[in-house]
């Protein structure tokens, strides 16, 4: 099994134990993907973590986009903006950095 800073990850790089998550792990995952985490990235990562805490699921991209539009405005709640931040997909890559499981229904 692979690990990131000592935390076990699955074959797609998602944390096996969600409680292992730290900001340092998120930063290391981003570095491995050549992404420099900005405040805008952290807004989305924190949103995903709050969403998971409240609903116990990682939201589908469509739901994530709509929910971000509602809370942070349309200029951020659109897929172009979110894909600019997370080129491998706001659901898949965003959830991985946030220490969440792969979104339900994400292929």
């Amino acid at each position: 099994m692979a690990d990131i800073l000592g935390a076990e990850v699955d074959e797609e790089g998602f944390l096996v134990d969600l409680s292992d998550w730290t900001k340092e792990i998120a930063e290391q995952m981003a570095k491995d993907d050549d992404v420099d985490l900005s405040d805008e990235h952290w807004d989305v990562i924190n949103f995903l973590r709050d969403y998971f805490e409240e609903y116990q699921i990682a939201p589908a991209v469509r739901v994530l986009t709509k929910a971000i539009a509602k809370r942070m405005g349309k200029d951020k709640g659109n897929s172009k903006y979110l894909y600019t931040l997370f080129p491998y997909g706001p659901g898949k890559q965003g959830c991985r950095f946030a220490g969440l499981p792969k979104p339900t229904g994400c292929i």
Partner: protein
């Protein structure tokens, strides 16, 4: 792709078997295909949406919280059998206040749960293209 009417029947309580959580997972996956989806809660299935569930003692995820996300997935028809509630000494106030925001009505928050008689439920079931029972 033509829209079909899908109904998911939930007949068992939240924990003890995997039926309840598996049903919810299938519902969330199927939601991506933008079909007309409704859920029905019959028999012990009504326990799935009772307010105040706590799974800490059995080491399971309290997935009842996930029902609150269904509105975000445009799933807003949750039919509950009146007879099944009554047989278990429950009423609608014992259930989670599940709601959705109506896009066509200035995002007004509306309840998703509809308590119906078994006769009404069987009529709604007969109007479906697909019924999946869990």
């Amino acid at each position: 792709m033509a829209t079909k009417k899908f109904m998911y029947l939930n007949r068992r309580s939240s924990f003890g078997t995997v039926y309840a959580i598996e049903s919810l997972e299938v519902v969330l996956i199927a939601a991506a295909f933008e079909q007309d989806v409704s859920l029905a809660f019959i028999d012990d299935g009504v326990y799935q949406i009772v307010e105040g569930q706590n799974a800490d003692g059995i080491g399971m995820k309290n997935f009842s919280k996930t029902f609150h996300a269904l509105g975000d997935y445009d799933i807003n028809k949750l039919y509950v059998s009146a007879e099944s509630l009554e047989e278990r000494g429950l009423n609608v106030d014992d259930l989670m206040p599940l709601a959705y925001e109506d896009e066509d009505d200035d995002w007004a928050e509306k309840p998703s749960i509809k308590v119906v008689s078994n006769a009404q439920l069987s009529k709604i079931m007969s109007e479906q293209d697909v019924c999946l029972s869990f």
